[in-house]
């Protein structure tokens, strides 16, 4: 009974959102309709929310007559994981996705006044998108499907690799980021329909977009960290298709925020800004399509269902056709007045848009090329890290150099560009000095490493000088830009050092003996079988001594879960600021030795820290009073 209530509430909400969509597009905007749309949307959201809360309650109370809950939860699970099991597979995570779109819409709805010209149509667009997704949920992937008449006594359990706090928060954060861009998208469409070039839709969406970008950044960083320690991948980025489809919206969103900062001030780059707002949202949907259609082989295996893929593809197609036709129809109103001055901030940002555009194009190519190639030549191929490295390293470095010089540029002013200004010279000298020291210490002539570090240092020194100036000479500084770009510099540095220094090696160790690797003495003290509530594990105990004589204890595990028979590897990591000692245990050899994989991952924490720093920059902007 209660399952049906939850089900009917979501169907009712679908009807209500459809109604809002129709009202907002058919009627002319009046005070009355604006109020009606706003009120009705809030009610639709409440219906959905109640439906979702009931669903959570069903999961907590182990109602296994719901097929989805029976397949993905278990009475033994702690309440926390019972809730997170909802988004551990397709149907439930789609439900969460929809709730989040509605949530963004709702918060937007209650924060923006009804007399805002763009509001009714924006809410209308959001409602129609919700209808599209709700139909997808109810028709192709219904989470409310029941097992009747007799429910199973216990559920099939959540996949053990998903029983992890990081995974419980990683998908929701990422989804909040993805679907948050529904707001700029809806406002851009609403602006295009309205057709009055004097309406500043850009002002309306800036903070919302930054907030969505913050969630996206944190979501990607969390995912990278989770794959590192829980999946035992031992790295931070693998160019896996699923990572790539998250990276594309992030790149588009970053370009969008840059472009937005220009369009807010003048009529320049409006074409870019609108196109980017459409791209971010459609790339988010494209990500959902790739992950959920099972069209691409990836380690993230989601349900393989061609129907779902087809539905999503058609949905994206319709959205793109409508928004791009609108864009072409209204092209005349968004054309800029006058030219961009050379060496102004605007000129640098338009160049930046081109760089980001190229990066998105390359990732898109890498993701879709195998599909096209197989279709045309009947030959399976895959595009791996070498391609992405070959493209990303030069483009990111050149873009960063432009960034370095752009610090001195001014808004809409033709700067007499002078390469001999003191901050530039000081940063260049400091960076060269540091590079010479690096060559001396590391005895390396790895060109890619040196140039990446050099560019990273240029950015860091340049922005440090800026920050220093703002403290001592009260020079104006945009804190968002400074922190975010410092994070970029830090990211470049840490990725370079990580790829130069990190090493790994598989060792074979006998119990109670010592193997040496690099500066470490690895002693296998003990290995034993431990029985736990839902799994048995082989647990090893290592004493690891470094060159200074410090000893750390690490105990990696190999687990076998009883309900699914699944084997998982639990890594053991010793974290220090400069490097991680990362150990996983493998199989026992015939001669009694154990295979042990040891990785030394340098500066890997700094990579995630840079991600967090970017997110912090976003939060700073959201709370800053000053107009940016």
């Amino acid at each position: 009974m209660i399952i049906e209530i939850s089900h009917y509430l979501s169907i009712l909400a679908t009807g209500l959102f459809l109604l809002i969509g129709l009202i907002s597009f058919i009627t002319t905007d009046t005070k009355y309709t604006a109020k009606l749309i706003s009120k009705t949307f809030s009610h639709g959201f409440l219906l959905l929310l109640v439906s979702f809360i009931i669903y959570i309650w069903l999961a907590i109370t182990d109602n296994f007559s719901v097929q989805y809950i029976a397949n993905h939860s278990n009475t033994e699970l702690p309440v926390f994981y019972k809730i997170s099991s909802i988004w551990s597979a397709h149907e439930g995570s789609m439900f969460l996705w929809i709730i989040f779109i509605a949530l963004w819409g709702f918060i937007f709805n209650i924060n923006i006044k009804n007399d805002e010209v763009l509001k009714p149509k924006s809410i209308g667009v959001i409602s129609l998108i919700l209808v599209g997704f709700l139909l997808f949920l109810l028709l192709t992937s219904n989470p409310f499907e029941t097992i009747l008449p007799i429910a199973p006594l216990n559920g099939a359990d959540i996949n053990p690799v998903l029983q992890d706090p990081a995974l419980a928060i990683h998908p929701p954060t990422l989804y909040l980021g993805y679907v948050g861009f529904v707001i700029p998208f809806a406002c851009a469409i609403s602006f295009l329909i309205n057709g009055n070039p004097d309406v500043r839709w850009e002002k309306l969406v800036q903070k919302w977009s930054v907030l969505a970008w913050v969630f996206l950044t944190i979501g990607i960083t969390l995912g990278s960290w989770w794959a590192y320690y829980e999946l035992g991948w031992g790295g931070y980025w693998f160019w896996d298709p699923v990572e790539n489809v998250a990276l594309m919206p992030w790149l588009a969103a970053t370009a969008f925020l840059h472009s937005l900062s220009v369009s807010i001030k003048s009529s320049h780059l409006r074409v870019w800004t609108i196109l980017l707002s459409i791209s971010v949202f459609s790339l988010s949907l494209f990500g959902a399509f790739i992950v959920r259609s099972g069209i691409i082989d990836s380690v993230h295996s989601f349900a393989n269902d061609p129907d779902r893929g087809l539905y999503l593809l058609m949905f994206i197609g319709i959205i793109l056709i409508i928004s791009l036709s609108l864009f072409i129809l209204r092209f005349s109103i968004i054309r800029p007045i006058g030219n961009i001055k050379s060496f102004s901030k605007e000129s640098f940002i338009s160049i930046n848009n081109i760089f980001f555009g190229s990066l998105i194009f390359c990732v898109m190519l890498g993701v879709t090329y195998p599909l096209v190639y197989e279709y045309l030549f009947d030959q399976k191929i895959s595009v791996g890290a070498p391609f992405y490295n070959a493209i990303f390293i030069p483009i990111v470095l050149i873009a960063s150099l432009f960034l370095f010089f752009s610090v001195d540029s001014k808004w809409s002013r033709n700067l007499n560009f002078n390469f001999f200004r003191s901050p530039i010279i000081v940063s260049i000298i400091l960076s060269i000095a540091s590079i010479i020291l690096l060559i001396y210490f590391f005895q390396t002539n790895n060109f890619t490493f040196l140039i990446s570090v050099y560019v990273g240092l240029l950015i860091i020194f340049r922005y440090c000088i800026e920050i220093f100036n703002s403290f001592y000479f009260k020079k104006f500084i945009n804190p968002f830009s400074a922190i975010a770009h410092l994070a970029l510099g830090l990211l470049l540095l840490s990725i370079s050092f990580n790829s130069l220094l990190s090493t790994e090696r598989a060792l074979s160790i006998r119990l109670d003996s010592t193997e040496e690797y690099k500066d470490l003495k690895i002693y296998l003290k003990d290995i034993k079988v431990v029985k736990n509530s839902n799994h048995d594990s082989i647990k090893a105990l290592f004493f690891i001594e470094n060159s200074r004589g410090d000893i750390v204890e690490l105990s990696p595990e190999k687990r076998r879960y009883r309900t699914r028979g699944q084997i998982t590897t639990e890594t053991a990591i010793h974290i220090s600021p400069l490097r991680d000692i990362y150990i996983t245990i493998g199989d026992q050899l015939d001669n009694g030795n154990w295979v042990v994989n040891v990785q030394l991952n340098y500066f890997i924490r700094w990579i995630w820290f840079s991600g967090c720093l970017m997110a912090i920059a976003g939060i700073v902007l959201i709370f800053s009073k000053r107009k940016v």
Partner: protein
């Protein structure tokens, strides 16, 4: 030609030149960095240069896994042809005899030296191009 138009033409040519050369470079690097995927049967029919990174996929042959120090040696098969694979390191959790595997590496003298061995975290995963009946 009108000077204004000439300038415009010049700009268009410049943009076209840059974008085509950019796309050309990208496609070139894409083509040189592709990993082709083969099944053991496909591999017997063609010659792969030793320095060309490829992917192979198939089932791990029963009773073929041998561990030597930190090396794992096993045979990948589509139950028609066989390839010996050598891998240094720890094989993934789902790697086991009689189940699917994908390896990335280089072919040298009939032996495949793997840099990476993948088994999916989906238990029911089958490597592509292998719709084989498991019972023979």
């Amino acid at each position: 030609m009108h000077p204004h138009r000439r300038k415009r033409l010049f700009n268009i040519i410049l943009v076209l030149l840059f974008s085509t050369s950019g796309i050309g470079l990208i496609l070139y690097s894409l083509n040189t960095n592709l990993d082709y995927f083969f099944t053991p049967t496909e591999l017997t029919n063609i010659n792969i240069p030793e320095d060309k990174r490829i992917k192979i996929g198939g089932m791990v042959l029963e009773n073929s896994v041998v561990r030597e120090q930190s090396k794992v040696i096993f045979t990948v098969t589509d139950y028609k042809n066989y390839i010996e694979v050598v891998y240094e390191g720890i094989v993934p959790d789902l790697f086991k005899e009689g189940s699917g595997v994908v390896a990335l590496g280089f072919m040298q003298n009939e032996t495949f030296y793997a840099q990476e061995v993948l088994a999916k975290h989906d238990e029911n995963y089958m490597p592509p191009n292998l719709s084989i009946n498991n019972d023979n």
